[in-house]
Symmetry: C2
Subunit: 318 residues, 2 copies
């Protein structure tokens, strides 16, 4: 019988897993062309609006391949059920047998996304972070900050959101985790005081302008994963010293980089791929003055890495 693990079991396994390391290794395999990632499968529903994505692939010569199914149905809030759902399926690469089903309800996607933010900060955040700025007080706004904890030695944070109520809850939750949180609904407050900024919103119009960005700032933009979403004025990418993508091929059509490419403000040759930067110190931040921007659109190799790590841990502890 196939192993089937629930969200509670999956969450319990995570304390034994170095997710940041697993994701980092995934990006390296990806940039070294060792990962086979077919095009994303997609279904779009209109009434009620919803989208389903199938992300899948494998690392060549690895033990497993992984298929992830993720759904977002935004009117579920009316029914008091979560908007996002999902599961991951792990199969044996030598036989095609189903190894396990991870009923993670989308949690592992959130986790691997947050871990990517930490990987980026490890190589591109300035050595001395004065203050962390977070755009978005939702799940990723929380998880990105949590994942910066082992990477960045700064607990002083300002968070931007659309409602004071949401911000108050965020402040309470994150101060419980040891951060000192200021809140704001004015985006100017972020750029003026932070040199490590994470944007984690579904915004379709820019939250930050090029003229706001100070020397030495690093920005991780992870909210935009479709051609429509856009969190940064594209001039920010033109002005940046380093622009890094989780996947250059995906960033051609999705995320902040796609907007800047289409506007002719940057060229593809100006873009670094994260896995290559991890391997080569010269491609990482080399001075405290550089402005660096990372665009994360989410790559299936992250799903592969996190689900494998969870499965191996759960199988061992059975």
């Amino acid at each position: 019988m196939t192993d089937i693990f629930t969200l509670d079991q999956i969450k319990a396994s995570l304390k034994d897993i170095d997710t940041i390391k697993a994701i980092e290794q995934g990006f390296v395999a990806y940039s070294q062309k060792k990962a086979v990632i077919p095009p994303i499968g997609e279904m779009i529903f209109e009434k009620p609006p919803g989208d389903v994505h199938i992300k899948y692939g494998y690392i060549i010569g690895d033990d497993y391949y992984v298929i992830k199914i993720a759904a977002g149905f935004y009117e579920n809030t009316k029914l008091n059920i979560p908007t996002d759902s999902g599961l991951m399926l792990v199969f044996k690469q030598k036989t095609g047998e189903l190894a396990c089903i991870l009923l993670d309800e989308g949690h592992l996607t959130n986790l691997r996304t947050a871990a990517a933010g930490a990987v980026v900060a490890k190589y591109f955040a300035p050595k001395s972070v004065q203050r962390i700025g977070i755009f978005g007080a939702g799940t990723q706004g929380r998880m990105q900050l949590e994942h910066l904890k082992p990477i960045v030695d700064c607990k002083d944070v300002i968070v931007w959101g659309l409602s004071q109520e949401e911000l108050d809850v965020y402040k309470m939750d994150m101060e419980f985790l040891g951060f000192s949180i200021q809140t704001t609904m004015n985006s100017e407050d972020i750029a003026s005081s932070c040199n490590l900024i994470v944007t984690a919103t579904p915004s379709k119009s820019p939250l930050l302008r090029a003229d706001q960005i100070r020397k030495g700032t690093h920005i991780t933009a992870m909210g935009s994963d479709t051609p429509e979403k856009n969190e940064l004025e594209p001039g920010i990418l033109r002005a940046a010293d380093i622009v890094v993508a989780d996947s250059i091929s995906q960033c051609r059509s999705r995320g902040e980089i796609s907007v800047a490419l289409k506007a002719g403000l940057i060229e593809e040759k100006d873009i670094l791929e994260l896995g290559n930067a991890i391997l080569d110190e010269k491609l990482q931040r080399t001075s405290e003055d550089q402005v660096t921007v990372a665009d994360l659109t989410g790559v299936a190799v992250q799903d592969i890495q996190i689900s494998k790590a969870v499965y191996k841990t759960l199988a061992q502890n059975k």
Copy 2:
């Protein structure tokens, strides 16, 4: 907690399901453009050789959408494990929630394929079937014949296979089900005595020639589902009075029709789509003399229909 059903549970549910009807309704929805079937997802492995296919989609306005994952790893026989595996996932179309996981190990794919053969026979087999000819003594060779039982009033069968041993087992199994079985390793014996022929082999070179086909014969070719496989000399399709495809768009690149199209022996306008023929009597067989050929490549709408029917039955009986 998600409902997860095993192969035994799924098999037990099938006695309460009219699979032929479910598949027939699926083809109608498909030809009426009510089914949304995105391109098939695919992963190909080399060492050991294996392929994985993800078929998915939904009928517009229906309660569910379905994702099927099927794998074939042909060297599994060396390990004494089945070459084919698979599962189907049923999700709620209104919320994206996972409704159930059907761990059918590929059985429902076999079943929906066999049921499609029955649907074709219902509309295209001659009224008076003298003898049924089956190419292939494997799983589909068995299931196609079983599914003809409620449709065709003929129990006299001749089966072609590559080894006498395999044919002897087939004969024993199918006579137990009430058929009278002759066996042959000479394909001439089929065309000369049968007016309902089903080809269910993975052959890459034709098993039947155009000059062998007698007036009034119907052929269902279901073995070829890739661009390489080919069971019928393409001249058979040129000579046929009716050529019917489960999916015209899929048959452009897969199966018997693709071979005949590429050879310039037929044109796309000469091809009927099964769902349209079901709805319009004039498109079905209209005389006992016609030669008709149906090419089945397998359409995700069949997976949608069978998995929905199984889930509904299992959910009711819980």
